[in-house]
Symmetry: C2
Subunit: 187 residues, 2 copies
């Protein structure tokens, strides 16, 4: 991990190399991504544009909707990335519609939490499902969000529940592109 001044930039590159093996790559909504055998994750700026099938970038930035009370609850339950038992992962790139981004802050917050329980749902699956969010919209990236999840194989069904519940939420009606990648690494 590079100590960055400001948000840390993370690049997910699909190709022949990388610590994570891509087990499954499924379009959920809109255009898919090209298949590739491996995924590598590079942290810090600048990142090299290497020899990859595709590469997506995002920054770990400030919280956009989470309140002080929710931050406290998340911190109490949080799980780090890189746990030895967490050999399963998912990368879910999402782009939301222009109508989402045109909403005022309070309306986006209301849909996100008061109607869709986004943080409340994520919290319920902690510490089993570790999660890290990367923002790509201001970077001109094809996806607004790249969410990375890590969990142990015995929590794979829990993870299905989590994404299933979120995809049924009012917030998800604003998702216009979504791809779902499942990955694994050796112990």
């Amino acid at each position: 991990l590079v100590v960055a001044d400001g948000p840390l930039k993370v690049r997910f590159a699909a190709g022949d190399v990388g610590a994570w093996r891509i087990e499954q790559l499924s379009p959920v909504r809109g255009e898919s991504l090209a298949p590739a055998p491996h995924l590598s994750i590079e942290e810090g700026r600048p990142v090299e544009a290497g020899n990859s099938v595709w590469a997506l970038s995002g920054v770990i930035s400030n919280l956009r909707y989470t309140t002080a009370i929710e931050v406290a609850a998340l911190r109490a339950a949080q799980a780090p990335l890189g746990r030895p038992a967490a050999t399963c992962a998912a990368l879910i790139p999402i782009r939301k519609s222009e109508s989402w981004w045109a909403l005022p802050q309070d309306e986006r917050r209301r849909i996100y939490e008061e109607q869709s329980y986004h943080t409340t749902i994520g919290l319920k699956y902690l510490p089993a499902i570790a999660r890290r969010l990367h923002h790509g919209r201001d970077l001109g990236e094809p996806f607004d969000f790249l969410t990375w999840f890590e969990f142990a194989p015995e929590h794979a069904q829990l993870f299905e529940d989590l994404v299933g519940v979120l995809r049924e939420s009012p917030e998800w009606t604003f998702v216009e592109r979504e791809v779902d990648l499942r990955l694994s690494r050796r112990h």
Copy 2:
């Protein structure tokens, strides 16, 4: 104006060319910027890294704090850039502290509006002072915000009042770097 897919990237380049003449460049807090005679403004991606003394970039992105009621009030009072009489401008690059960015969303909102009246104050100076905000933090830029203002010469004192009031606000205690550029162009 280039029609962009997602946030529009804007680059402010200081050097020998540009529609705006830099009349004054003053450090308000922290390190200043190098002096230069002109400023050019380039909109859209990709932007060329030309021959400039310095260049700062930001994106016109979604609202971060503004509520639906505030959006309605701002829309009713708004003023566009490029008005023929608005031959004065200001560019105010700002970086906030890490302690600001570490705050939860509701605490940042409370300081921004309920304690500092940021939107309320800006609204009071519309339509005389037109304003456009550019976000640089997720881009890894040296400044989190580049705010661009345009006004007629007879509103120059109004503009002094506006920046004076904001700099006295609780929100400004989180500003760790600020530069103030004043500019002019011909009719």
